[in-house]
């Protein structure tokens, strides 16, 4: 009896130990996680930081000092570039180790290794899209530049020095939740980071929808509804700017018409526009007489923050700005002499080619009137708690055949717009050395240096804006733009015909650019880069002109600009869309025909100043109305089962609303009578009010735009509780302050050049990536209030500065 009791009690105690040390699904090993000596409690950081730390690190060449300001932003003073990027790696890892690890795993298709089978399709997708292939090509090119090779290796050495200093109890909390360990950082991971940016910013393609539209409605409808040149325009390079180069020959398109295959995947509406803005003012327009530059890149916001602020000082550089964890150097920033920033270009750098394989073995494909061999590439996906998967991807000279019919996963939204049996030609696969551009910009002194830096840039194409203390301003849409015939790649292409290939590139020095234009400012907001006189085809569609138009309207009347005038412009919630269409929409409505709620909404809209502020109820109605109008006009024509298509752009609908009240496109083909514009306006208005009422009850505080939009910044892995609180703020997709639920300005910066450069900036988060740190989201309130912090730009490590709260000294071991 006693033995039985002993055995039973030992079994219970042991089972408890094993159970609480095991991960079940997404639940971490409980006791291991809760143990206050090693588990999550260890990640709870104290508010007070040690004022001084001394570190002995292997591999450093000389002494490095890091000063921290009140936001815990590091200011690194190194004596050479190796030490500088070593320290940047070390300090980035200290604050963002899990983010570094997770991003790399995401990009390289290695998430299944840590989260198990639920990530297999995502991993497979990344591998099949050629992310690893592209990163390998990029690394080879980076390593050919001695200074970049040293830079990425120093950065890796620094990250690894930090990783090796850790005990499991010190790991960032996400490692404890997901129950895995950080691994050593490799230089190729810096290439993976750039591939993620390419995938985010150039990874969309709607050729597949466009081909279906072409098949269903023919070329005339495509020309009418999906024109190559938009109705509203305000290009980046001011209209009428002369091109001072002799263009090279434009290739000829093939003579045969695009083919008539129908593609049957389910559809996913592509989100229009990303929302980034930048502008630079010449000294003629500023109060100081020196140029000013502003930039706010928009991305899907997340915590840990996308950006990491840093000041980097060594023998040949003193730059301040934001870096991307994973890439050494500064991406957007300034130094004593210049400031620079970026917005996305949205050029057509991703094309799909239909491949004719000889047989099911996929060993050969037809191209240029003969069979050509494919190159198989094995992708090995290790799965935690499961069987390793070996996936074979066939590469043609175009690129990888991403999905063949039997491999396309059914319920995986990422590949909804990928045509099966097509090869992908994508700029992200090409060798590139984009980091060199940033390395040189960090050190640039003038316009010539800026132009030289841009020659190295490939992808994702960006509008590089520039201002210098010599009173030069400039903007250059930069990147590798494939040389194409007009509208090449608007539809899926036949991969057999060499005429459909990319024909080299637009020469880098013939990329659109403008320096010191007569209007005394330059700007961009993801819109079309040029007017129709530019000789090369870049894409048929860009983000709408609304934000750019508002920026240009405001800047052209601005004189004696100061930081506040530019800050107010960054936070501008005014909607050009509403200005354009609202009068037309309201005139169609007969107030007498409305019920009480509809009438109240109508009154609010009539009085509305067209600003998407957090308190505005009219803004909520307008936004919903716009969606309903879109649907009411296009749904019967473009939402057809088994034939995924997309809607024409927002601008196209605006054009029809304003100019063609009797357009046939307003007729709902599913009803016997013929509808006109005004019918569509009336029914969509009723539906708008009805939808809002069903969701938020009668008109009240619940209807305010801040509440309806519900902005928040989620955690990178969507862990509940690790995101931001709800932020009651304004902004809209088509305003300069292009803020949606969680897509918005990931960094706002204003630089005032001068004898002493002064700069201001903020991002929605904090320097630390630790949800248990006070510096995880300490800047978020300042950001959501539309304020900026003055940035601490140090000239020397010994200059007295009240904002410096801690100092680290690093020396070689």
């Amino acid at each position: 009896m006693k033995v039985a009791k002993a055995i039973t009690s030992v079994v219970i105690a042991l089972s408890l130990l094993i159970l609480l040390n095991t991960k079940f699904g997404s639940i971490p090993p409980l006791a291991k996680f809760l143990d206050p000596f090693h588990g999550f409690w260890k990640n709870a950081e104290s508010k007070t930081k040690p004022k001084k730390e001394n570190l002995k690190l292997a591999g450093l060449r000389d002494k490095v000092e890091i000063l921290f300001d009140e936001q815990m932003i590091p200011h690194i003073f190194a004596k050479n570039n190796y030490d500088l990027y070593y320290a940047q790696g070390y300090i980035t890892a200290k604050d963002r180790l899990w983010q570094l690890d997770f991003q790399t795993r995401y990009a390289s298709g290695r998430l299944s290794e840590v989260v198990g089978s639920k990530a297999i399709e995502l991993d497979r997708y990344q591998r099949r899209m050629g992310m690893v292939y592209g990163a390998e090509n990029t690394l080879l090119k980076m390593e050919r530049s001695p200074q970049i090779k040293e830079m990425i290796e120093a950065y890796a050495d620094g990250i690894n020095a930090y990783i090796h200093s850790l005990k499991p109890a010190d790991y960032p909390i996400e490692f404890k939740i997901l129950d895995y360990q950080p691994e050593d950082w490799k230089p190729i991971n810096s290439a993976f980071l750039l591939k993620i940016m390419s995938a985010t910013l150039t990874g969309g393609s709607d050729q597949f929808y466009m081909s279906n539209i072409l098949n269903k409605y023919g070329i005339d409808v495509v020309k009418e509804l999906f024109p190559n040149y938009p109705f509203g325009e305000d290009p980046i390079i001011p209209k009428g700017t002369k091109w001072d180069f002799k263009p090279i020959n434009i290739p000829q398109p093939p003579t045969n018409a695009p083919e008539g295959t129908v593609y049957h995947q389910t559809t996913k509406q592509i989100d229009e526009g990303i929302g980034s803005n930048n502008w630079a003012l010449s000294g003629k327009k500023t109060v100081s007489g020196y140029p000013m530059l502003a930039n706010d890149p928009h991305l899907n916001l997340s915590l840990p923050s996308i950006w990491y602020q840093i000041q980097t000082i060594s023998n040949d550089v003193n730059a301040y700005g934001v870096s991307l964890p994973g890439s050494p150097g500064i991406i957007i920033g300034f130094n004593t002499n210049i400031a620079w920033g970026v917005t996305n270009v949205g050029a057509a750098v991703m094309d799909w080619y239909r491949i004719r394989f000889k047989d099911d073995s996929k060993k050969e494909y037809w191209y240029n009137n003969q069979w050509n061999p494919t190159k198989p590439r094995m992708e090995t996906i290790t799965v935690r708690g499961g069987k390793t998967i070996i996936d074979t991807v066939y590469y043609t000279h175009h690129g990888p055949v991403v999905y063949t019919d039997n491999l396309q996963p059914k319920n995986f939204s990422k590949c909804d717009n990928i045509p099966t049996g097509h090869a992908l030609r994508w700029i992200a696969h090409d060798p590139s050395n984009d980091i060199e551009t940033f390395y040189l910009l960090n050190r640039a002194r003038n316009y010539t240096d800026y132009r030289a830096a841009l020659t190295h840039y490939t992808a994702p194409a960006q509008n590089f804006i520039f201002a210098s203390v010599d009173n030069d301003i400039a903007i250059t849409p930069s990147g590798y733009f494939p040389l194409k015939w007009n509208q090449q790649g608007k539809f899926l292409m036949d991969g057999c015909d060499p005429l459909n290939d990319w024909h080299g590139r637009v020469p880098a020095d013939q990329n659109p650019t403008v320096k010191n234009p007569p209007r005394n400012f330059v700007s961009s907001a993801n819109q079309r880069p040029t007017d129709a006189t530019y000789p090369y085809y870049l894409n048929w569609e860009f983000a709408g002109y609304e934000r750019a138009h508002r920026i240009n309207n405001r800047l052209s009347v601005m004189t004696r600009a100061n930081v506040d005038s530019l800050r107010n412009l960054q936070n501008d919630n005014y909607s050009i869309w509403a200005e354009n269409v609202l009068p037309t929409l309201l005139q169609a409505i007969d107030p007498k025909s409305l019920n009480q709620t509809e009438a109240k909404g109508f009154e609010l809209l009539k009085k509305w100043d067209k600003y998407f502020t957090a308190e505005s109820i009219a803004a909520s109605i307008a936004e919903m109305w716009q969606k309903m109008l879109d649907k009411a006009t296009w749904s019967d024509k473009f939402d057809i089962p088994n034939m995924p298509m997309r809607y024409p752009s927002k601008d196209k609908l605006v054009e029809l609303l304003l100019r063609e009240p009797n357009s046939k496109w307003f007729d709902n083909t599913k009803t016997p009578q013929r509808e006109t514009r005004d019918d569509i306006i009336r029914t969509s208005y009723r539906l708008t009010i009805d939808t809002l009422q069903r969701k938020y009850g009668p008109i009240s505080q619940q209807w305010t735009w801040g509440n309806v939009k519900h902005t928040n910044v989620p955690h990178l892995a969507k862990i509940t509780g690790f995101g931001s609180k709800f932020l009651n703020i304004g902004g809209s997709k088509l305003s300069i302050n292009a803020l949606n639920e969680s897509n918005g300005p990931s960094w706002r910066m204003i630089v005032a050049l001068g004898k002493q450069v002064k700069a201001y900036g903020i991002f929605p988060g904090g320097e630390s990536g630790n949800p248990g740190s006070f510096y995880y989201d300490d800047m978020i309130d300042t950001w959501s209030n539309g304020k900026l912090n003055e940035l601490v730009y140090l000239k020397s490590k010994d200059e007295p500065c009240k904002q410096i709260i801690a100092k680290w000294e690093m020396s070689r071991k």
Partner: protein
């Protein structure tokens, strides 16, 4: 006595060894000096409950319970501003249960051993 031995030894050894060392320590001490099943379980439970709650507070107080609050949200615990207390209680409970059952096992093993040597 048992309570004190467990709490002091665990406090010291936990700095160096993984969490499951608490199971081994409580088992060994209980098989050495425990007086009865109930006393063994309670000493183990209370020792580790106290130790883990105390140590949790050591980390959490300078942190204003910021992280514990986030963990509370992650575990979808109720109590907006006080959910960190529930997290702390669960922490103590888990540590306590492991130690309690290990102590119990230690006690019963001693009993079994006593009989076989009689």
């Amino acid at each position: 006595m048992l309570f004190l031995l467990i709490i002091v030894t665990c406090l010291i050894l936990q700095f160096f060894l993984p969490w499951w060392i608490i199971g081994i320590i409580t088992f060994l001490f209980a098989s050495w000096i425990s007086k009865g099943a109930f006393q063994a379980f309670c000493s183990g439970f209370l020792a580790l409950f106290t130790l883990w709650v105390g140590m949790g507070l050591v980390h959490s107080i300078p942190n204003n319970h910021l992280l514990a609050g986030r963990i509370g949200q992650m575990l979808t615990l109720p109590g907006q501003n006080y959910n960190w207390m529930i997290v702390l209680f669960i922490t103590g409970l888990i540590g306590g249960l492991v130690a309690g059952f290990s102590a119990l096992a230690g006690f019963y093993c001693r009993k079994a051993f006593e009989r076989s040597t009689k």
